[in-house]
């Protein structure tokens, strides 16, 4: 998937006021990778995904899906798209809906029926095939939306907030589905607010803020660039004497039954361990702490807000 100089300006029909939803976005998602697309509400994530799915027209710029320009209808032949908070025809049953969309994506009648049955069971809805969609819970609808995005075995899957509305079991199932797609060689791009999931699943991550691409790197590159620290857990001791000169490079937190020393200077680790042994304090664990994606995301968002305090955001 390639995006070159993509911009979107929304115009109000009445006041003719303009709002920039996306600003000169350049992006390449490689075949077979799982790509996370992050940003706060109104950053331009949904705008980007909708342009790629053919629901919005870009104001400027171009994009290609699997080598085909998005203006051409063929670009969506191998695309699976899950919109944010998907809505369906509530008079249909789950298998009927899946068969309908599978056939719209090019499957024959027999293939569509088979794929619909298979995916209906695969997303954990197989027990109630005759239930009409108006009686589905939010989580069930989200699962059905995922099945609809995958039912025709697409080569590229774009998911807008796929974990939204799901309980922990549902989130685990979605993670499994995304990993399964990666194993099949399918390219997956998804937006999410649930950063631990993104960290767990994605090969690369883009952070978009105020319609502009802020960061683009592998998860490892992003989080390893963050300041590191080392956490030393020790058995609770009433008195712990550390050299007076260390005051700026450690913090001490007492929990029930243990204490946690957090070192911000790695060079102090060996002297600290020696000191603890000398004072006969039981060391339970030494854990290097790296910055999380969440911390990085919050820092990037703060930077952008500082640089453009009056930037207008759109949904």
């Amino acid at each position: 998937m390639r995006v070159e100089g993509l911009s979107k300006v929304y115009r109000s029909n009445w006041s003719r006021k303009t709002t920039r939803g996306l600003d000169d976005l350049n992006l390449v998602v490689r075949r077979g990778e799982v790509f996370g697309y992050l940003g706060p509400n109104g950053a331009g994530k949904t705008t980007t995904l909708k342009i790629l799915a053919g629901l919005l027209k870009p104001t400027h710029g171009r994009a290609w899906l699997l080598g085909t320009p998005i203006e051409r209808i063929e670009s969506r032949r191998s695309l699976g798209f899950l919109p944010e908070q998907p809505y369906f025809y509530d008079y249909l049953t789950g298998p009927e809906y899946l068969e309908f969309v599978a056939r719209l994506s090019g499957l024959s009648g027999r293939e569509g029926t088979r794929a619909a049955r298979q995916w209906f069971g695969r997303v954990g809805l197989g027990e109630r095939p005759r239930l009409v969609l108006r009686k589905y819970s939010k989580g069930m609808l989200q699962r059905l939306g995922l099945a609809a995005a995958l039912v025709h075995a697409p080569q590229l899957v774009i998911l807008d907030e796929p974990m939204s509305g799901l309980d922990p079991f549902g989130r685990r199932d979605v993670r499994d589905l995304i990993l399964e797609q990666r194993e099949r060689g399918v390219t997956v791009m998804f937006s999410s607010h649930i950063l631990p999931d993104v960290e767990l699943l994605c090969d690369r991550v883009a952070i978009v803020l105020n319609g502009r691409l802020e960061r683009l790197a592998t998860v490892g590159e992003l989080v390893n660039g963050q300041a590191a620290s080392i956490e030393v857990r020790v058995a609770d001791c009433p008195v712990l004497e550390l050299p007076a000169g260390w005051s700026g490079c450690f913090s001490l937190a007492r929990r029930t039954g243990e204490s946690v020393i957090t070192l911000t200077d790695e060079s102090r680790l060996q002297p600290l361990l020696a000191l603890l042994v000398q004072q006969r304090v039981e060391v339970r664990a030494v854990t290097p702490q790296r910055g999380t994606l969440e911390e990085l995301f919050m820092a990037a968002a703060s930077d952008a807000a500082y640089r453009a305090p009056n930037a207008r955001r759109t949904a």
């Binding site: 929304y10 909708k50 799915a53 053919g54 629901l55 919005l56 027209k57 209808i73 063929e74 969506r76 032949r77 695309l79 798209f81 919109p83 908070q85 998907p86 809505y87 369906f88 025809y89 008079y91 249909l92 309908f100 969309v101 056939r103 719209l104 994506s105 090019g106 939306g145 609809a148 949904a315």
Partner: protein, 254 residues
């Protein structure tokens, strides 16, 4: 192929939402009412039955168009169900064509069921000779409703359901009077005449599909009339749907 799938789904929606069943039941009630009013017609009971029976088809069909057709696309945009269709390899023109075809098929179903009921009632009353006249009249009414559906779908793609219903009802009424407008244009001076003639030509020529008076006396129309009406309806629907597709093509679905 995708237009057929969307049409099938639209037809299924109309069936499951019980709109069609409601209209067919209402039609049967209206037909039964003609038998109560028959004795008041002073010997013209059959004529009254045919006329009222055929009128009820147009009235109920128009009601379906105004209730369902005018929100056909707008409802999908509002409920965002359209996202799941247009993010697939489905051109917007094909989507619109499918929606129109599906609702038109539903209206043909209503018209066919009520026409058959009307014929069966006349046969039971000892007048089986009206079959051809009723068949032709119902066919023309089906074409008329198909044309009005195309207008409703066009407005539904560019406006709100309430405004779409107003525009569609307005054009339906104006279309019924387009012959009168054409006659009036002949008496109007200069540029007003040209303007009125253009308006009369652009409005749907709905009197072309009205065969109620002829059918009430058991007569049939010429094959040339049927052919002309069919060609006119298809051409008019084609133009209206092309306009609707062009409008939908430029729309953003936020």
């Amino acid at each position: 192929m995708n237009a057929v799938l969307i049409a099938q789904n639209t037809f299924r929606e109309a069936i499951r939402d019980r709109v069609l069943a409601g209209m067919v039941v209402a039609g049967f009630v209206l037909l039964a009412f003609t038998q109560i009013a028959g004795p008041l017609a002073m010997g013209e009971g059959v004529r009254l039955t045919v006329d009222l029976g055929l009128s009820s088809i147009t009235f109920l069909g128009l009601l379906v168009v105004l209730l369902v057709g005018t929100s056909l696309v707008a409802k999908e945009i509002e409920r965002r169900t359209i996202f799941n269709l247009l993010s697939r390899p489905v051109p917007r023109s094909v989507y619109l064509l499918g929606k129109w075809a599906g609702l038109s098929a539903s209206l043909w179903f209503v018209a066919g069921a009520l026409g058959a009921a009307l014929w069966a009632m006349l046969a039971l009353l000892g007048h089986p000779g009206y079959a051809a006249a009723i068949l032709e009249a119902v066919y023309l009414q089906g074409l008329e409703l198909t044309l009005v559906t195309a207008l409703a779908v066009l407005f539904s793609a560019i406006s709100t359901p309430v405004l779409s219903a107003l525009y569609t009802a307005g054009l339906f009424l104006a279309g019924q009077w387009c012959d009168d407008l054409r006659e009036f244009a002949l008496k109007a001076p200069g540029s007003l005449r040209t303007l009125l003639q253009v308006v009369a030509d652009v409005l749907p020529n709905l009197p072309l599909f009205n065969m109620r008076t002829l059918a009430a006396s058991g007569e049939v129309t010429s094959p040339a009339h049927l052919g002309l009406a069919t060609a006119y309806a298809l051409l008019y629907c084609g133009c209206v749907l092309a306009l609707g597709a062009a409008a939908l093509e430029s729309r953003d679905f936020r």
